[in-house]
């Protein structure tokens, strides 16, 4: 009776498992990754980390330098998220099913957001590096573009989810387009939107490290500097500062998120 049912089910699981193993194997060959080396690397790394990668009393002298850069990075991350949020909001309004003005604009704004979101922030950094050089602005713009793409999509979904109902009600009361946006769409989605912005700030701080390494600004730059100088004690201090900052920001935004509900 039930043999074929269980057999097909088991076969399916085996096929899925087989595909995963195959993909793993293929990827390992392609990237010349060697699992045994990889596993061996971990204890090695831990040993290396404990013997080299820790802040020393000497490295504490760099703390003010590091903190200054961390501050710069925090500000860049926040500014990029906030400015991106403003643009993203406009694009999301134009792109959302509920509030779109015309189909053409909606498609256009979606396409634009997709473009900026699907190209990694590292790509933008390198292009921007050519014109803005090693300045905070390079980092700002790189993060801005990436945030913009992500937030546009997030906002669009938020607005879509906030529902047509209040919009319909205001429309039927004779309210115009702009007042409808501000009186129905914004209040319905504001807490979600704020929550996305906070999330974006967190993401940006992480990405800023990468962008900083690529473009020579902020906390990424100073890590890179110490790292390339092989001053691993100072570099580890940078990591500590980053970790503490990110954990703090996470806690803070979790608090705000809960309070906003």
């Amino acid at each position: 009776m039930s043999q074929t049912y269980f057999l097909t089910k088991r076969l399916r699981s085996l096929v899925v498992l087989g595909v995963i193993v195959l993909v793993c194997f293929g990827s390992s060959v392609l990237t010349q990754f060697n699992l045994s080396q990889g596993i061996a690397a971990i204890p090695k790394a831990i040993v290396w980390g404990f013997s080299n990668f820790y802040p020393t009393a000497d490295s504490l002298a760099y703390l003010s330098d590091i903190w200054a850069k961390m501050q710069e990075t925090l500000l860049v991350s926040i500014a990029a998220a906030v400015v991106a949020a403003i643009f993203a909001f406009i694009f999301a309004i134009l792109g959302s099913r509920i509030t779109k003005v015309s189909n053409f604009l909606a498609v256009l704004s979606r396409a634009f957001a997709n473009l900026s979101r699907n190209i990694d922030v590292s790509v933008w950094s390198i292009v921007l590096l050519l014109t803005f050089g090693q300045t905070s602005l390079t980092g700002f713009f790189a993060l801005f573009i990436a945030s913009f793409g992500f937030l546009t999509r997030a906002f669009m979904e938020t607005i879509d989810e906030s529902g047509t109902d209040p919009v319909e009600a205001l429309k039927s009361a004779g309210a115009g387009y702009v007042p409808t946006i501000f009186q129905a769409v914004v209040p319905s989605s504001i807490s979600q939107i704020m929550s996305w912005i906070l999330f974006m700030i967190e993401t940006n701080i992480r990405a800023a490290t990468l962008v900083g390494i690529l473009t020579g600004s902020g906390i990424g730059y100073i890590f890179d500097l110490y790292y390339k100088r092989m001053d691993y004690h100072a570099a580890s201090l940078v990591v500590v500062v980053i970790v503490i900052s990110i954990l703090l920001i996470e806690q803070l935004s979790n608090y705000v998120r809960r309070a906003m509900l």
């Binding site: 990827s27 390198i126 590096l129 602005l137 807490s191 990405a207 954990l247």
Partner: protein
């Protein structure tokens, strides 16, 4: 406007001034957050170390560059097939880290889910994982690059660290959402812990496990690109770094950008499709 209200059954007098906005805690928090963020943004713009950069000319130059990047891509230092190879390597890096991450995260998340272990274990695992997550991926890769060697080993292990911690959080939250009853029922039949995990927890959470994993795969592709660029991990990202930061050949960057974009879009479509399908 209009005449005063036509409706006036016997009414008590209303307060002379009526405020419409009542400051609830949530409104206060939202406004404070908004104000603080706005102020920090403005303050940020004033403090940015722009080194006498001429803003508008630079911005215009950037647009010109974007135009070149997107309108005039070309091949120079590498061929089409090399670009495909680069993309494939990057994809493979992304796949590998996702799979390694998913497998390790699966077991860790069993320890991190409060309903599967005890609160202490769960908190310890969650804290460790949060700290690992707070270290940006690129730093993991760079740290491993020195400590453990070059190229893909460092890249895969370093990138996996972040995947593991991210997925551990996501998976354990999925596990915690599972109805206590599903676990209780199997416990009552005399099933052991692993049996409960594989017969109840996994099937129950499968949908969200898969959807989180795919989401992470999308992210990991981007990370793999970035690691090629920032940490020399190879693949298309490395080519991009060379083209952009070493050869200053933005037209070639355009080619690479298109490759990356194409894959990213394919991945997104794939992941949306899969998510839609497994939800059924």
């Amino acid at each position: 406007m209009k005449e005063p209200p036509r409706i006036s059954p016997a009414m008590t007098s209303a307060p002379a001034m009526i405020k419409t906005k009542k400051l609830t805690k949530s409104n206060i928090v939202i406004r404070t957050t908004m104000t603080v963020l706005a102020l920090l943004t403005i303050y940020g713009f004033f403090t940015f170390n722009n080194q006498n950069l001429k803003f508008w000319p630079s911005l215009m130059a950037t647009f010109a560059n974007f135009k070149t990047v997107f309108i005039q891509p070309h091949f120079n230092h590498f061929t089409f097939s090399q670009a495909v190879e680069g993309v494939t390597v990057t994809l493979a890096l992304g796949l590998l880290t996702t799979i390694v991450g998913a497998v390790v995260a699966f077991f860790l998340s069993l320890l991190a889910a409060e309903n599967l272990t005890n609160k202490t274990t769960s908190n310890i695992v969650k804290t460790i994982v949060a700290i690992i997550r707070a270290v940006p991926t690129v730093l993991w890769v760079l740290i491993f690059a020195i400590a453990a060697g070059l190229g893909s080993v460092a890249a895969v292990i370093g990138m996996s660290f972040h995947s593991i911690s991210y997925l551990t959080k996501a998976y354990s939250e999925s596990f915690e959402e599972i109805d206590e009853g599903a676990i209780e029922a199997l416990k009552a039949t005399g099933a052991g812990w692993w049996q409960i995990v594989f017969q109840s927890i996994v099937p129950n959470a499968l949908t969200s496990l898969i959807s989180w994993t795919f989401m992470r795969f999308e992210v990991n592709f981007g990370v793999a690109v970035a690691m090629g660029a920032a940490a020399g991990a190879g693949g298309i990202g490395y080519e991009m770094f060379m083209a952009g930061a070493f050869y200053f050949d933005i037209r070639e960057m355009g080619t690479i950008t298109y490759f990356i974009l194409a894959i990213a879009i394919v991945l997104e479509i794939l992941s949306t499709q899969i998510k839609a399908r497994i939800r059924i």
